[in-house]
């Protein structure tokens, strides 16, 4: 950036305003068309299902006339045969019948029970239990599963996630207990239509498709509420309002009321564009999305204030210069800083976008969009809005007093400079500013 060129950022300001407005309207239209945001399970109720991938160990069928129930109590298999004579209960302790082969042999000894063993040498203490218990035996074979016990080559969380990729709602998969047990907590937002049973069946079938029929057991299945209850949502709204009000107050005190308005306008601009982007591309909204939006609020605010600070300083230094020129000089002077800061922040976030996937990648994407928009708005929205507001104010005042708008500005600066006793004003070296201007004239 050469010292002596001033880029006229504000010249086509209405063009940029129109462009931003267009993007915002586009985003909001997308929001309406897509029927709101794609809320993740942090915000929506959903189904929580715990499944275990445990291979089939044996299957048991019964062809007799009695009622035979198979149960697992404290890891031991219990066979209950009830008929007109009463109930006959036998416990097959896993100490006594240490393998599935032994269990099967014992089961075979009951009348009319047939067992087909697939993993006979597996220890019977690995018997897996789920929602299906207790089993009522019939001629249709009942599958008994055994949990994985090898601590190597077990199914990973990513494989489960891949298996469930066909689900439409937002998805969360967590490992439950020791990882080799292959037990997973699956949470799906219930935006997809259909009953709870449909969704349960859908999850179950997808997992079975990937890891084998009869190899999956459901351990628990329930509706869960959102993490963010209504109270929390309500609190968040209050929070944002309070934060914005305080920020406005601070900028008003340190700068001017029009600066406060312009900063808030730029901030709103950034948030609206981000929400539009998230809505149009159906990005999942999670707690991290909120963090990303908040980050961008902080970032954009920071960016805007730095430029405003330069404008404030230059208004005093370059008395008698048209405000529009002051604004352009200020943006130009802080341009290299704006670009370098945006670039370094992007440098920090880009690897996150490139090298990760899922929630973290989404988070990085939100940040990247936000940084680009935030940088754009601090150059093309915040300061031009400030210019428009100041011009309107000066014109109003000028009309009222019958003076020239520029003269009013000069007067205001004069008054501020004399009342402002802070060291900033005094310390500014007029000489350097003049030298700067001279340099300009030389060219």
């Amino acid at each position: 950036m050469k010292n002596n060129t001033i880029i006229k950022f504000t010249k086509h300001r209405f063009l940029f305003f129109a462009l931003s407005l267009l993007v915002i309207i586009g985003g909001l239209t997308g929001l309406i068309i897509n029927d709101g945001l794609n809320l993740g399970i942090d915000f929506e109720a959903g189904l929580s299902q715990r499944v275990q991938v445990a291979e089939q160990a044996m299957s048991v069928s019964y062809s007799g006339a009695d009622d035979v129930v198979l149960n697992v109590i404290n890891g031991d298999m219990v066979v209950e045969i009830s008929n007109a004579d009463g109930v006959d209960k036998t416990t097959l302790s896993s100490d006594e019948y240490a393998t599935f082969d032994a269990l099967a042999a014992k089961l075979q000894s009951f009348d009319d029970i047939t067992v087909s063993v697939t993993r006979g040498n597996v220890s019977s203490s690995n018997i897996a239990t789920g929602l299906g218990l207790p089993f009522t035996l019939s001629s249709v074979p009942t599958v008994v599963n055994a949990a994985n016990s090898g601590t190597e080559n077990f199914i990973t969380i990513d494989e489960v996630r891949d298996a469930l990729s066909a689900l439409s709602g937002s998805l969360q998969v967590q490992i439950v207990g020791d990882d080799y047990l292959q037990e997973f907590q699956i949470r799906v937002a219930t935006e997809s239509e259909g009953t709870k049973e449909d969704l349960e069946a859908q999850i179950f079938n997808l997992v079975e498709d990937s890891f084998g029929t009869d190899n999956v057991i459901v351990k628990q299945s329930d509706y869960v509420g959102p993490k963010f209850s209504n109270l929390l949502t309500y609190r968040s709204i209050i929070m944002v309002v309070v934060a914005l009000a305080l920020i406005m107050a601070y900028i008003w005190i340190r700068f001017q009321f029009s600066s406060a308005l312009a900063a808030i306008a730029a901030l709103t601009h950034d948030i609206l564009i981000m929400i539009g982007f998230i809505a149009v591309f159906r990005l999942e909204v999670t707690t991290t999305t909120i963090a990303a939006v908040l980050t961008i609020i902080g970032y954009s605010l920071n960016d805007t204030i730095v430029v405003f600070d330069r404008i404030r300083e230059n208004t005093k230094l370059l008395r008698g210069t048209k405000f529009e020129k002051v604004v352009n000089i200020s943006i130009t002077q802080s341009l290299s800083r704006t670009l370098i800061t945006s670039f370094t922040t992007l440098l920090a976030v880009l690897p996150l976008f490139i090298f990760t996937k899922g929630a973290i990648q989404l988070f990085a994407l939100n940040l990247i969009v936000g940084i680009v928009v935030g940088t754009y708005s601090s150059i093309f929205i915040a300061s031009p809005v400030l210019l428009a507001l100041t011009n309107a104010r000066l014109k109003r005042k000028a009309k009222h007093l019958g003076k020239d708008p520029e003269a009013i500005l000069a007067e205001e600066v004069e008054v501020n400079a004399s009342t402002d006793s802070s060291s900033v004003v005094k310390e500014i070296e007029i000489a350097s500013a003049q030298r700067k201007l001279k340099g300009k004239r030389k060219k």
Binding site: I157, Q174, D222, G225, S236, M239, V306, P351, V424, S432
Partner: protein, 575 residues
């Protein structure tokens, strides 16, 4: 401030950071995995482990003595030597010349004492480690997983309380209220970033990062209703204890609860007296007979303040009563002077004290552990749970982001960080080195502060750190660009640095204060992830201002004033 003074400030800050970072660094790098697992277990597990280890050691040593009476003490038990030596000296015995196992054992009054010493060795080691872990930076649910606890509403107790049958819909409403109260309460407990959800209509699912103490979870489920004051029937108590001593077999029912002998008059109840043992676990130390009629219900307690008894140094709880509670309590204490008063919590007598005079508004009781006292104070401050909750199920869950993604994410963050460092070095040359130094310093301070305040690191707080890194770089960029401008005008290096910092000062202050305001509001009103983000951001803003305006300045001043560098290497174009 002189440069030396400023340097001292910077070094002091670094020293404080080192102090707070020490647990985090050693926990994540030096503590062996096995110890970590043991230390993250519940106190009960630690107790079991310590006892088991001590018993095993004792057997091993006894076997060694049996096979060779002159066997020397194995070196891993040398810590027992010191204790034995002290014991010998304390009882005026001659300290033996050689430390055979037999000699060491003789240094203890009996085998139990020897066992206790062994147990204490294991216990204090693990409890210290557990404590240590509490001081290390915690990773959130999304990054490292934690504990999932399913709470279930106790419908029967609710019906008993309301003295009528309740519909499922009523239970659902009460559970919903419970959820809101728990949300509030958990925040105050300082449990870091838990997640709560309604599950079905009667259950609440709580997820807590790290390995949560089941005891801790239990403590925040309790409510005001679980606390009551009862008058002790001293005569029956003496009778009861005599009876228990002479008939040990009659003390407990099969389920382990205390048995009420027939001679106890109706209208009296037998309850165990509990005290926290060395592990902080409630241990039964006796039994008392109380009048069943509640002297004062816990609902009358407005506040519970914790303090330390100036004489005994034990934690005490000072209960403040509301006005009607004060009336009841005054009547109770004036008619029962010289009798004993018991504080009953969850059917356990936590404290007993003799009433010396009639009391109206506040009662001070000791007998709680300091953790219990603090938890109690919080529970009493928040609303009571309409329907009581029991832990139905509890298990460990993995990171919600997935272990692999977390690893990728952390690597990516490291790559990004290195890129920023390299870019600054490339673009600002020697001055970039200053920026990089303060950037790293910044990260160190943030991590130290996060550890010191026991904050949890989640994906959202990492976002806060990224923003902070951005802002810290930004502050330096603003300063450098200003210095460059001044330098281009032909000023000396020293004057450019001075003017650059001066002009950048308010720019940086204004930009950071506005963001800081946003962060403070979010930290106050936000919950969960938002709060974590805001906390990190707030901390980061302060540290980045400190590092940019104070540390960078010091480095620049040092080079231009002391080293007398008169050429600033701040960009490629200025030579």
């Amino acid at each position: 401030m002189s440069k030396r003074g400023r340097l001292i400030v910077v070094l002091l800050v670094l020293a404080v950071c080192g102090y707070f970072l020490y647990p985090t660094i050693s926990w994540y790098t030096f503590v062996p995995q096995e110890t970590k697992e043991l230390a993250t277990g519940s106190k009960e597990q630690i107790k079991e482990y310590a006892r088991g280890q001590a018993a095993q050691d004792l057997r091993e040593l006894k076997d060694l003595v049996k096979s060779n009476p002159e066997a020397q003490l194995p070196s891993e038990f040398s810590f027992m030597k010191g204790i034995a030596k002290d014991n010998y000296k304390a009882s005026d015995l001659k300290v033996p010349g050689s430390w055979t196992i037999a000699n060491v054992m003789n240094g203890f009054a009996n085998e139990q004492k020897f066992f206790d010493a062994l147990e204490q060795y294991y216990r204090s080691d693990l409890l210290d480690m557990k404590n240590f872990r509490g001081k290390a930076l915690q990773l959130g649910l999304d990054l490292s997983g934690g504990m999932s606890i399913l709470l279930e509403a106790d419908k029967e107790a609710y019906e008993e309380k309301l003295e009528r049958s309740v519909s499922d819909a009523e239970v659902a409403v009460a559970v919903q209220q419970d959820l809101e109260i728990l949300n509030n309460r958990i925040d105050q407990f300082g449990l870091t970033e838990p997640e709560l959800r309604l599950q079905g209509t009667r259950q609440i699912l709580v997820e807590i990062p790290g390995a949560a103490d089941p005891e801790r979870v239990n403590s925040f489920l309790k409510g005001k209703g679980s606390l009551a004051f009862h008058i002790v029937d001293d005569e029956s108590t003496t009778q009861l204890n005599d009876y228990y001593i002479s008939n040990p077999a009659e003390k407990y029912n099969n389920d382990g609860s205390l048995r009420t002998p027939e001679f106890i008059a109706p209208g009296r109840i037998v309850l165990g007296v509990y005290s926290a043992d060395a592990y902080g676990i409630d241990e039964e130390i006796g039994a008392s007979v109380l009048y069943e009629e509640v002297g004062l219900d816990g609902v009358h307690i407005i506040e519970a303040l914790t303090s330390t008894d100036p004489i005994t140094g034990r934690p005490t709880v000072n209960f403040q009563l509301d006005s009607s509670g004060g009336e009841i309590f005054y009547k109770l204490t004036s008619t029962n002077t010289n009798k004993r008063l018991a504080v009953v919590m969850d059917k356990k007598i936590k404290a007993q004290a003799t009433i010396s005079e009639a009391i109206r508004n506040s009662v001070r009781m000791s007998g709680f552990s300091s953790d219990q006292a603090a938890d109690l104070a919080i529970v009493l401050k928040t609303a009571a749970l309409p329907i009581s909750l029991d832990v139905a199920n509890q298990q460990a869950v993995g990171a919600s982001l997935g272990e692999d993604s977390v690893r990728q994410g952390l690597n990516a963050i490291a790559v990004g960080f290195v890129l920023v460092i390299l870019f600054m070095l490339f673009y600002y040359r020697r001055a970039g080195l200053v920026a990089d130094t303060v950037l790293i310093l910044n990260l160190i301070i943030i991590t130290a502060v996060l550890s010191a305040f026991n904050l949890t690191l989640t994906l959202t707080s990492i976002a806060g750190i990224i923003l902070t890194v951005g802002m810290a770089v930004d502050a330096n960029v603003i300063i450098f660009e200003r210095i460059k401008e001044e330098y281009r005008l032909g000023k000396s290096a020293e004057a450019s640095v001075k003017a650059g910092f001066k002009k950048a000062f308010w720019t940086i202050m204004d930009a950071n204060i506005t963001t800081f305001i946003a962060a403070l509001v979010l930290a106050q009103l936000g919950t969960g992830g938002v709060k974590g983000f805001a906390n990190t951001l707030a901390v980061g803003i302060i540290t980045s201002m400190f590092t940019a305006l104070f540390v960078s300045r010091l480095v620049f001043d040092f080079f231009v004033q002391k080293v007398k560098i008169n050429k600033l290497r701040i960009s490629w174009r200025i030579k």
